[in-house]
Symmetry: C2
Subunit: 404 residues, 2 copies
Amino acid sequence: MSSGKILVAQGGGPTAVINQSLVGVVLEARRHPAVRRVYGARHGVRGIVDEDFVDLTQETSHNLELVAGTPASALGSTRDKPDLKYCQAIFEVLRAHEIEHFFYIGGNDSADTVRIVADEAAAAGYPLRAIHIPKTIDNDLVGNDHTPGFPSAARFVAQAFAGANLDNAALPGVYLGVVMGRHAGFLTAASALGKKFADDGPHLIYLPERTFELPRFLADVKATYERLGRCVIAVSEGIHDGGGAPIAAQLAKDLERDAHGNVQLSGSGALADLLCEEIKRNLKIKRVRGDTFGYLQRSFVGCVSDVDAREAREVGEKAVQYAMWGSRNGSVAIRRSGFYSVDYELQPLEAVAAKTRVMDDAFIAPSGTDVTDAFRLYLRPLLGSGMPDAFRLRPNPVPRVLRP
Amino acid sequence: MSSGKILVAQGGGPTAVINQSLVGVVLEARRHPAVRRVYGARHGVRGIVDEDFVDLTQETSHNLELVAGTPASALGSTRDKPDLKYCQAIFEVLRAHEIEHFFYIGGNDSADTVRIVADEAAAAGYPLRAIHIPKTIDNDLVGNDHTPGFPSAARFVAQAFAGANLDNAALPGVYLGVVMGRHAGFLTAASALGKKFADDGPHLIYLPERTFELPRFLADVKATYERLGRCVIAVSEGIHDGGGAPIAAQLAKDLERDAHGNVQLSGSGALADLLCEEIKRNLKIKRVRGDTFGYLQRSFVGCVSDVDAREAREVGEKAVQYAMWGSRNGSVAIRRSGFYSVDYELQPLEAVAAKTRVMDDAFIAPSGTDVTDAFRLYLRPLLGSGMPDAFRLRPNPVPRVLRP
């Protein structure tokens, strides 16, 4: 006899829409007469091994809808990366609570956890249906057109650079913004969607998909500054040299030789500060400003793509439908089916677990410091409706009188 | 005979709504039959001495409305702080172009420039009407209930901390956000408006109105972390020790100074990184994250208070009305006349020029690390309509099975 119990949890970094997926699971599961209880684990897999569950069957649908519209993991999250032993502990708790369906919302590490737990259940002959629900602002899950959470973060980055460009045009100089993304440059590349006019920034975009060379970088900045009198730059936190070593580490060594004292790289503002310092010292440009977008880009409330919110809800709903009416475990994937529409598929857990997707070459301009129209076409519909737009005064110069 | 020429310019740091004031001036001036030309100076006072003017009479009202809704100074801005000689050069250009009305949108330094230029005109017996239009995200102009630009920046800060709090609750640790504000803590204090539930962050707020002591700071963080298992902190970039020395200055010796002699505090992540390092080292807390909000807080597109936008437009309109129908120079000031409504007055330029307002003691809690309800009542209506709200799952714990 079926227990009618399902469990849902959230892992990894929060996003603006991860609660849409949670609520998609809960509300869809509550539609099924066979489901008696929907449990949520507090703080991801950590809450499972600690048996720290909340009963989401006793939550009102009204409050669930409000939570769906609130950013950041409502159940709490964790950075724990379970090994085999940890996954065995997870499985023991699932079995003790007679959980029959397990849904884990997270990135490629979370998918790997789901895979191992599912293997443990299979080995024990326990009838567990395990589904991974995609989430990550990095957009680095393979087999997906894009990943829920990324579009809203991309929207934040695009709006931030649209504003930084206007600010930089008003008070010219060099502006550099460091964006999240250790291996995949999608989020940094989203800065290009803040451009409207031909001379708008970001004028230079540095992605982890391309090798970063400081002399080339300085030459790029110099050329742009000489051409426009200003320069707006988007830099991925994951930029590295030809050997794969992070740029931040190298620059810190240079600064130590300059007797600036010990530079700690653990602080999140370090890369922006170090690159700004290089520009000031080598190019003799006075007004150089660096921002590190940090946690704002994934947690800011009030910057959500409606397309992202809808799709995040749907992957949660689809996960339950695949679990209830399907016959296998897997990871829900988003496929693009039109300009713009999507469909969903259940791909094998092995296809996505612990793998990392990076930007296609077709999305990166030959210069290596810009995106292509293919990328703009790819990203624009994901940003959703109501994107702010920027307007300029048109030139109507007045003749000089004193010095004509 | 009257030339019918007026000039408008924008100075200092851009804001989300400074173009509302510009367009308020232009559209209201164009209503007056006596006005033949409305000139705009490119990049503030720099554009005046360079005679770099655009004719705003030849701009469409439709495009002006779109520019009004675009953040950052559409005419361009400057950090130049004119001395007497500079102001004399400004006056010479105004006279050469037969400018009869001069409007300068900016902070207390801009008000001082308007004052000196007006004095020069008076000494020369030249009939110039000079009006200062208030603008600053710091909210530090005396004689004003608040200053256009501040409410939208405050909204950004409140939304940012609302999100940072949710993120920190999902993945507990210490989060520290550094907010702009050299002498006045209004913008940092706005972080408190992101709080909803009793245990929400920011749990600690450090303002330049109070002396910053590192041991006390570490004790505050420790106590909060022990009580809640997490801690969200808002820090003003302008925090200083008992001797008035900026805490940021204790980190870096080669600090950049601007033309006003001010140390450059923004555009660097140094303060956040330094404080995070102190927390890690002294309190042995593992997960400590610091963000510097930097230029995002004043330039992000898509985070505007509708109240701020309306008032910024009105101060521009009122400036023209005072100039055309009034009999004296001055600075437009916002007075609060209800909960919530405002009225406008023209105060003497000397009353606001080169003076700095800081937070009333009544706005700061006795602890020195929180705001009062008086501040919440003061700020809330300024943030405008449609503020995002955060919701939580209610606790419905499930009994443990394995370890009851």
